[in-house]
């Protein structure tokens, strides 16, 4: 495995959720929705640990073709020849329940309005809103880059 990836310069990519391994494939490039903005990694990248926010993990080239996964919260390890992504939820944009996401958005806005001066509640509500917004954007193919 290591031999082939070295020759072709492909990253092995693994996306894991608490319940299963969603994908285990190879790609030329991987885009990650890091907390501090999208970042793209190629074969040979420096080792990196990053917390991921709500957004799309995009795989380009390799055995994956071009695949996108929506993740709500995640954590990624980038090594020169491998990217491993942990995500609480991972779904293809087509699998997103937009109605549910819209309902979540409303609930998030309601929680935000009711949070008072409690910082934790604000953070929770903000996270809820962000996840719902990104989910809707991803389902409609309008996610940020």
């Amino acid at each position: 495995m290591a031999e082939t990836t070295h020759n072709t310069g492909l990253l092995s990519v693994r996306l894991v959720t608490p319940q299963r391994v969603v994908v285990d494939t190879t790609a030329e490039a991987v885009e990650l929705p890091s907390m501090s903005g999208y970042l793209e990694t190629l074969y040979g990248a420096s080792p990196l640990l990053a917390e991921l926010g709500a957004g799309e993990v995009r795989l380009h080239g390799g055995a994956s073709g071009n695949e996108k996964f929506f993740v709500a919260w995640g954590f990624a390890e980038v090594l020169p020849e491998r990217v491993t992504i942990l995500a609480e939820q991972a779904m293809r944009p087509g699998e997103i329940n937009v109605e549910q996401a819209k309902a979540d958005l409303q609930k998030g806005e309601k929680d935000w309005a009711e949070a008072g001066d409690d910082a934790q509640s604000y953070d929770d509500a903000n996270a809820e809103i962000r996840v719902a917004e990104e989910k809707i954007a991803s389902a409609e193919g309008k996610a940020a880059h």
Binding site: P18, Q19, E51, E88, G116
Partner: protein, 363 residues
């Protein structure tokens, strides 16, 4: 003595029962295989979270150098005055002693803690646990207090717990196991962590049926919070299977085609152990301390999910064993009844013969 007709009817009825129990056993075996598979699938994520946290623990300074105290709220050791116990049992019966074993272990725990003068909060998962504890203990009472200040421009919320009894129920989760959805686990853990952080509870335990394989199971009490050592759950009490139980479970598994071996470690799991621990200087997109802080609650989530997945598998295994027992009991009963029926039939024939013979002799 019952007539031949009665006995025949009874045999037919027991045969029907045997068919039902046999079908239930096979259904449980299929569900068990699925549950085992689910538990196996969940291992890499849990392993990765543990590995990266262990590695971060060494890098990030999570202990205050001056006081030596843990900085993360989930590592804080307090005197145990208020204890939460999460009891994971099944939603359905017909599973032998599965539910009662768990409820008994939990009751023992509650009694011990009460004797130590501690307050105990009980959070049952599964309908059977809920039913068992709802009759015994009252619900906890919470009050959400809102204060306005700055000329009513801002408000401050506070959740106040009114503890009136030594043992109270703080929530119920039924039918969580049948269709395990991670979002529900997430919400449950979020709530528990919040209670721990605001010091409403000082420690969290979970009582569940650990499941390594059909013949390697035990009911355990595991300490979840505060975290003493990552990746090494603290088992405070355990009840192993008896030899008879093992034999019964082994027989059920063999006849239903379920493996009694522990599943082997997969390549992905082996790699998962190295997650976030490579011997290189990582670039941290966020500070290690911050990543550590955000990952800690995820660790608790994986622990609770693990308990639920194993418990679900154990429940199916228990039902499979119970139904296997019932099937063989029905078989024994059919044999006994057939014997009685044959005897009754023979007696009737003999009686008729005697009547004929003695009738002929009288002539």
């Amino acid at each position: 003595m019952p007539s031949v007709l009665d006995l025949r009817r009874r045999i037919r009825s027991v045969k029907n029962t045997r068919q039902i129990t046999k079908a239930m056993k096979m259904v449980s075996a299929a569900k068990l295989r699925r549950a085992q598979e689910a538990a196996l699938q969940a291992r890499p994520y849990a392993q990765m979270i543990t590995s990266v946290l262990e590695s971060l623990q060494r890098r990030a300074d999570i202990y205050d150098p001056t006081t030596g105290e843990a900085i993360h709220p989930l590592l804080v050791q307090r005197e145990e005055k208020n204890v939460l116990v999460v009891v994971v049992a099944g939603d359905k019966g017909f599973a032998g002693a599965f539910n009662s074993n768990i409820v008994r272990a939990a009751s023992n725990f509650i009694r011990e803690r009460e004797a130590l003068g501690q307050n105990v909060d009980v959070e049952p998962v599964g309908r059977k646990a809920r039913d068992a504890f709802r009759r015994l203990y009252p619900q906890a009472v919470y009050e959400r207090k809102t204060e306005k200040y700055d000329n009513d421009l801002s408000e401050h919320h506070e959740i106040i717990r009114h503890r009136a009894h030594k043992v109270e129920l703080t929530g119920e989760h039924e039918l969580l196991l049948a269709r395990l959805d991670f979002n529900t686990v997430h919400a449950m853990v979020h709530d528990i962590v919040a209670r721990f952080e605001r010091a409403e509870i000082d420690s969290v335990y979970v009582v569940f049926n650990e499941f390594k394989s059909v013949i390697a199971q035990r009911v355990v009490v595991e300490k979840l919070l505060p975290i003493a050592k990552l990746g090494a759950p603290e088992i405070t009490a355990a009840e192993e299977m008896s030899l008879e139980q093992k034999e019964a479970a082994g027989h059920a598994a063999r006849t239903a085609g379920v493996s009694t071996l522990e599943p082997e470690e997969t390549a992905i799991e082996r790699e998962a152990k190295k997650f976030g621990t490579a011997d290189v200087d990582y670039i941290f997109d966020q500070s290690p301390a911050r990543i550590f802080k955000h990952l800690m609650p995820k660790y608790i989530e994986t622990q609770i999910l693990h308990a639920m997945l194993e418990s679900a598998a154990a429940e199916h295994a228990a039902r499979m064993t119970a139904m296997d027992n019932a099937t063989s009991n029905a078989g024994d009963m059919i044999d006994a009844l057939s014997l009685t029926m044959n005897r009754a039939r023979q007696a009737a024939i003999t009686k008729e013969l005697i009547e004929i013979v003695s009738g002929a002799a009288a002539l």
